[in-house]
C-alpha cells in the first residue's frame, strides 16, 4: 500500500536499446503524489521512449517502473489501469464522433458499464468539449483534437497522467488553453489529486505549470531538481538547458 504523499511513479534503472542505438540509459527517478514534473530534453533525447515505457506501451531493455504501486512487469494490467497517456501523436479515429470515441476508450479502459456515461460526460466537461460532443473528430480543429486527446487520457480517472508534448503544433492561444486545462486537471479539487509527468522542449511551458524538472540528454538523466531551485537568483532555464544538453542541439533551441 502507498502512504500519503509517497511516490506514485518510480523509474528504476530504465534502459532501452533499439539495435545499436541506446535511446535511454539507466534512468531512475521517483515522483510523489500530486507532483507535476516537466520532463525536459532536446529532440531525440529519449523522452517519448521513457514515457512509452512508463505507460506499459513497450517494455524496457533493462530496469523496471512502478506505477501507483504496480510493477509494469509483474502487474502490467493493474499498472495500465492507473495511467492516462497522451501520446505525441493523437490516438484518434477521425471517422468517429467525440462521444462515440470517448465511450469506446472508456470501454477498453474497463470502466464499469453504469459508470461509463457519467465518466464520458465528466471528461467532456473538464476538457471543454461539451459543445462539440456529437461532431466527427475529423472535422475538429487541431486545438479541439488536442482536447479530445486529453479527454481520452482522463476518461477512466487515472491517478497518473503521462503527457507527451501536449502543446505540440498548437497556436499560441490554443497553447494557453491547453496549459490552463492541464493545470485544472491537476488541481487537488475533489480530493482526486493526479500526478503528472509531461514532456516538452518548450521551456516557458515548464515554468508555467511544473514544480519540478527532470532533464535528459542523449538518454541520460542530467538534472532532477525543483523548479524553484533551478531558477533561484535570477538564473534561467535556458542557461541550464544550454549547459546540460549537447551543444549543437542547444544552439538549435536558442535560435
Amino acid at each position: 500500500m502507498l502512504r500519503r504523499g509517497s511516490r506514485v511513479i518510480e523509474a528504476r534503472g530504465i534502459s532501452k536499446r533499439y539495435g545499436d542505438l541506446v535511446a535511454v540509459a539507466d534512468v531512475s527517478f521517483k515522483i510523489g503524489k500530486g507532483e507535476i514534473v516537466g520532463f525536459l530534453g532536446p529532440n531525440g533525447a529519449g523522452k517519448t521512449t521513457t514515457m512509452r515505457i512508463l505507460t506499459g506501451f513497450m517494455p524496457p531493455t533493462d530496469g523496471t517502473a512502478i506505477i501507483a504501486g504496480h510493477d509494469i512487469f509483474s502487474e502490467p494490467l493493474a499498472a495500465r489501469r492507473c495511467v492516462g497517456y497522451l501520446p505525441e501523436q493523437l490516438p484518434l479515429y477521425l471517422e468517429m464522433t467525440v462521444t462515440a470515441y470517448l465511450t469506446y476508450v472508456a470501454k477498453i479502459k474497463d470502466v464499469a458499464r453504469r459508470a461509463r456515461a457519467p465518466a464520458v460526460d465528466r471528461a467532456l466537461e473538464r476538457c471543454g468539449l461539451t459543445e462539440v460532443r456529437s461532431r466527427v473528430i475529423g472535422n475538429l480543429s487541431r486545438g479541439f483534437r488536442q482536447r479530445v486527446g486529453l479527454a481520452q487520457a482522463i476518461v477512466h480517472d487515472p491517478p497518473v497522467l503521462v503527457l507527451d508534448e501536449p502543446t505540440l503544433g498548437l497556436d499560441p492561444l490554443q497553447v494557453r488553453d491547453i496549459r490552463q486545462l492541464i493545470a485544472d486537471l491537476t488541481s487537488p479539487q475533489d480530493g482526486n489529486q493526479r500526478t503528472v509527468i509531461l514532456s516538452t522542449h518548450i521551456l516557458p511551458e515548464v515554468e508555467a505549470i511544473c514544480q519540478r524538472v527532470i532533464l535528459i540528454n542523449e538518454g541520460r538523466k542530467t538534472v532532477d531538481a525543483p523548479l524553484e531551485e533551478l531558477t533561484r537568483d535570477g538564473r534561467s532555464l535556458e542557461e541550464l538547458f544550454a549547459r546540460e544538453t549537447t551543444h549543437d542541439v542547444a544552439e538549435e533551441v536558442e535560435s
Partner: protein, 217 residues
C-alpha cells in the same frame, strides 16, 4: 471480453461511417468474377468452387490490409495496446469485425457469381453460407494476424499476401473441398466440416497467444 466487444463495435462504427473498405472489396471481388466469366468456358461447374474462393481471398487481402493501417495512421494503436486486458481480446475484436465485413462482401459476391455462371445456389444457400462462414473464421484469424505483422514492415502491401497465403493453405483447401462437394452433389459430409472446425480452433488459439507480442514494437 469487454475489450473484444469495444474493438468490434468501434471497427464497425468506423466502417459504417466511411464504407470505403466494403465498397472497394465488393467492387474488386466482382471484377475478379467478371474476369473469370470472360476468360473461361461457360461450363465451370468443376472449377466454380475454386474461382469463388479466389475472389474471396482477393477481397480479404484488400480489406485486411486496411484493418491495421486504420490504427497506425494516427498512432491509435497505443490506445488499444494500453487496454488493461490481454491483447488477445483486441485481436479477437478486430478479427470479428473483419469477419463480419468480409461476410457481407462474400454474400454479394456469391449472388453475382451464381448469376454470371448460371449456377442454382438456392437449394444449397444455407449450407453454402455455413461453409463459407466457417472457413472465413480461419481466414480472418490468419489474415488479421498477418495484417498486424505486415503493417509494421516497409512493404506492407507485399508482405501481407506473402505472410498470409502460405498460412492459409490448409483452411483454403478445406474450404474449396467442402464447397465443391456441396455444389456438385448438393450434400455435405461431416469430414470437411470437422476439418474446418479444427483448423479454425488452432488458428484462433495460436493467433490469440501470438498477438500479445506483436503490438510491442
Amino acid at each position: 471480453m469487454n475489450v473484444l466487444l469495444a474493438v468490434l463495435w468501434k471497427d464497425l462504427t468506423i466502417e459504417l461511417r466511411s464504407r470505403d473498405r466494403v465498397v472497394a472489396m465488393v467492387v474488386f471481388s466482382l471484377l475478379v468474377v467478371m474476369v473469370f466469366h470472360l476468360s473461361l468456358p461457360a461450363d465451370t461447374r468443376d472449377t466454380a468452387p475454386g474461382l469463388l474462393w479466389i475472389a474471396y481471398v482477393f477481397a480479404a487481402l484488400l480489406g485486411l490490409g486496411r484493418s491495421f493501417s486504420l490504427e497506425l495512421e494516427n498512432d491509435a494503436v497505443s490506445g488499444i495496446a494500453l487496454a488493461p486486458a490481454d491483447r488477445g481480446w483486441v485481436f479477437l475484436g478486430k478479427a470479428a469485425a473483419n469477419w463480419i465485413i468480409l461476410s457481407a462482401v462474400q454474400a454479394v459476391t456469391a449472388l453475382v457469381f451464381a448469376l454470371v455462371f448460371d449456377l442454382d445456389l438456392m437449394a444449397v444457400a444455407g449450407r453454402l453460407a455455413g461453409v463459407v462462414a466457417l472457413s472465413s473464421v480461419g481466414l480472418c484469424a490468419i489474415g488479421t494476424l498477418s495484417a498486424a505483422v505486415a503493417v509494421r514492415t516497409r512493404f506492407r502491401e507485399v508482405m501481407l499476401p506473402l505472410l498470409m497465403l502460405p498460412l492459409l493453405w490448409p483452411v483454403l483447401s478445406g474450404a474449396v473441398h467442402a464447397t465443391r462437394q456441396l455444389l456438385t452433389s448438393g450434400s455435405l459430409s461431416f469430414e470437411p466440416i470437422q476439418f474446418l472446425i479444427v483448423t479454425d480452433g488452432i488458428y484462433l488459439i495460436v493467433s490469440f497467444l501470438v498477438f500479445e507480442y506483436i503490438l510491442d514494437e
